[in-house]
């Protein structure tokens, strides 16, 4: 791990440390804005830190780790789109407000369906929503829009269906909009993959801790080889997925297809680990008072946000077929 990455990770983990798992939305959002998470990828001349995808990867991994609520992924998409909107009047003002924490949100459904504006985090608190349509990316004010709350199984996320009434500000058009849409989708997929791997790492650690303290048949569960081997398998798949994550997060050439395959892989690892975690916790893992279900539900939501594994694995298969022919 690079020193920069390790430092940023430690700082972020420390910032979220006190709030514990699945902190309250306001607390969590304050932490996100105060630690500067929203300005990481913003170029320095626009008031940001000018750090790249790797820093964004660290942030989302850590947010996933604590099961942070809030629209961080959507907000960073809006910020990315604003950064790209060179000619937009009043851009700096919008950008400053977004970086300072005024909620501007976006759909986390797969790009094809973005125009439909489903799965929009925290839309009821947002001033704007990003709309990615055919040949056009715009930022639409939410006054007067129809906003329907959709209660999710994942209690750590609040999602809405949104039907805007206004046209909004055009951030990009034509070919530029298509290119931007691709970049936004790539960033969403990377963020979701990071969320998955951070969460997977956290629940794996909690599970190992539990196995070390819970005693059955006069010894800790951690002494049973059947359980140790399951945990070792989880750690192995997680480690490989993490290596792939950092590999693709730092590869400027990694496009939507590669990041989609990464997201599908990360989500399947997350799901497998949360499912095993419930099983290894036994009865307590089935209750609402314990943390297992929070991870399990976030994992299953992550698996569908941004496009599911069926879609991305098929794309990856086609890409591999093309590559092998070249």
């Amino acid at each position: 791990m690079s020193t920069d990455r390790a430092e940023l990770r430690d700082a972020t983990r420390k910032a979220f440390g006190a709030a514990g798992l699945a902190p309250a939305l306001d607390t969590s959002w304050n932490t996100v804005t105060e630690m500067g998470a929203l300005m990481m990828a913003v170029p320095e001349d626009l008031g940001g830190l000018g750090l790249g995808r790797e820093a964004v990867g660290v942030i989302h991994t850590e947010l996933g780790r604590t099961l942070a609520p809030g629209p961080a992924i959507a907000q960073m998409l809006v910020i990315e789109a604003l950064c790209a909107a060179d000619g937009l009047a009043g851009r700096q003002d919008l950008l400053d407000r977004a970086i300072a924490g005024e909620i501007m949100t976006a759909s986390l459904a797969r790009a094809d369906a973005w125009g439909a504006l489903t799965a929009v985090p925290d839309a009821d608190r947002a001033s704007h929503v990003l709309v990615v349509g055919e040949g056009r990316v715009s930022l639409v004010p939410l006054e007067g829009a129809a906003i329907t709350a959709r209660e999710t199984w994942d209690r750590t996320r609040r999602l809405f269906d949104v039907r805007p009434t206004a046209d909004g500000l055009v951030l990009a058009q034509g070919a530029a909009a298509t290119a931007l849409a691709g970049r936004l989708e790539a960033q969403m997929l990377l963020a979701l993959a990071g969320d998955c791997l951070g969460g997977a790492d956290a629940i794996l650690e909690l599970t190992i801790e539990y196995l070390g303290t819970r005693r059955q048949f006069d010894r800790p569960l951690a002494l049973f080889q059947a359980l140790k081997h399951r945990v070792a398998d989880m750690k192995t798949w997680l480690s490989a997925a993490e290596a792939l994550f950092w590999n693709r997060a730092t590869d400027a050439a990694a496009g939507v297809a590669e990041l989609g395959a990464l997201k599908a892989h990360a989500a399947s690892v997350y799901r497998a680990i949360t499912e095993d975690a419930v099983q290894l916790h036994g009865g307590i893992g089935l209750t609402m008072e314990h943390h297992c279900h929070l991870f399990l539900k976030r994992a299953t939501l992550n698996a569908t946000l941004g496009g599911d594994a069926d879609y991305w694995e098929e794309q990856a298969g086609r890409a591999a077929l093309r590559k092998a022919a070249s």
């Binding site: 480690s239 298969g317 077929l321």
Partner: protein, 397 residues
């Protein structure tokens, strides 16, 4: 990628175009063909300066960094050259153990001969030891200037073709199991040595059993002190964990065309289910490669943790099983008709049943998947170790 690496890639590729053996797969369906191909290809690589990139810089072809080695492996895989199965133990296990533990005399005596083609094998495993290396029972008794060795070794890769052997023996039966081991360099031509090939489930004979009957080994051919064998053996084993897996993972990625070809040949380019399985496999192979890369970068930076190598090996062995399983499934009934196997064809020869069966060699050899899982859970994750309440059979109570 830096300019220097691009230049290296270009050079290696050009060299391979001129020098890589062409029809070796057809030749390697017999043992004679296999041996001739392996010896010829190794000699060529030595001549080209590409045989031992991982050796220290003072040796011809050595002193290459990790990034350079990776480029070389990728190009070797791309050119579909034979893996150096025959000289693998010599250039990795024997050489790195000698570099670390050998005296100046021992290094001068043995290392140059490796480049001349001398073949080494490893005599660690025993019929009743398997992955439990400390349970070695082959006995060595010191008599003056020699050790007299009696016992049996098994799973010695390429042992039937080898000239020399890295031998782990027991010089003491009392006390801790590990403390009674000693490391010797055995000349397989010595009196009392019998090597017998083992027929594996896919028909190849990559391994041999070694029978040692009053074999005399000079004390001068001991590596490390008497009783230090366990520590020396750990260096030998470490040499294969890492670089090898980097090469093998890269080769597996390079072999994805075999599955792509099968998908096309069977007209399943638009079968969404097959495409998903293929896409999932390709991503897992990328993850295995990324993990191997990361492992080596950490090792070079001095950040390797005990157990990291096990993560890499377990990932590789399970991914290889997935790879060969998908090929086997796509090849259908055709894969069930016996075809001659290609000796030393790498792990992915396109003979899917053979490749599938061979994948078990990776989930068992070099510490089984289960042993790796123990190491990961106990050493890396800090879970408690199993209580050890047993002793060696035959030990004094």
């Amino acid at each position: 990628m830096t300019d220097a690496l691009e230049t290296l890639r270009h050079d290696v590729r050009a060299w391979l175009e001129a020098n890589a053996p062409k029809d070796w797969r057809a030749t390697c369906t017999s043992h004679e063909g296999f041996l001739a191909t392996q010896r010829g290809w190794f000699a060529k690589l030595v001549e080209g300066g590409y045989a031992v990139p991982h050796w220290p810089a003072e040796w011809p072809g050595g002193g290459q960094g990790l990034a350079e080695q990776k480029v070389l492996y990728e190009e070797l895989a791309r050119a579909d050259t034979p893996r150096l199965l025959l000289s693998f133990m010599s250039t990795y296990h024997a050489a790195s153990t000698l570099f670390e533990w050998g005296s100046a005399e021992q290094q001068a005596k043995y290392i140059p001969r490796i480049l001349e083609g001398e073949i080494w094998c490893q005599g660690f495993s025993e019929p009743n030891a398997g992955s439990d290396l400390a349970a070695v029972r082959t006995r060595a008794e010191r008599r003056g200037d020699v050790y007299v060795v009696n016992g049996q070794k098994v799973w010695s890769t390429m042992g039937q073709f080898a000239d020399k052997c890295l031998l782990l023996v027991r010089t003491r039966t009392q006390g801790a199991k590990q403390a009674g081991l000693t490391y010797l360099l055995l000349d397989l031509k010595a009196k009392g040595v019998t090597a017998r090939p083992i027929h594996q489930i896919h028909g190849d004979e990559e391994f041999a059993e070694l029978f040692l009957d009053d074999v005399e080994i000079p004390v001068a051919d001991r590596l490390g002190d008497e009783g230090q064998g366990w520590a020396v053996a750990q260096s030998t084993l470490l040499s294969e964990r890492g670089l090898t897996l980097l090469e093998l993972s890269a080769r597996m990625r390079g072999a994805l065309w075999r599955i792509a070809d099968l998908i096309r040949e069977t007209g399943r380019e638009d079968d969404a289910g097959i495409l998903r399985d293929f896409g999932r496999l390709a991503t897992r192979i990328d993850a295995a490669c990324a993990l191997a890369d990361q492992f080596l970068a950490n090792r070079i930076a001095g950040h390797e943790r005990v157990g990291d190598a096990s993560l890499v090996k377990l990932t590789y062995s399970r991914t290889l099983r997935d790879f060969t399983s998908l090929g086997l499934r796509l090849a259908g009934l055709e894969a069930q008709y016996h075809e001659p196997i290609v000796f030393g064809g790498g792990m992915e020869t396109g003979n899917w049943m053979a490749d599938f069966m061979n994948s078990y060699a990776w989930t068992i050899a070099g510490g089984s998947d289960e042993v790796q899982r123990n190491i990961i859970s106990e050493r890396l994750l800090g879970m408690p170790r199993e209580p050890k309440t047993w002793t060696l059979a035959g030990d004094a109570a």
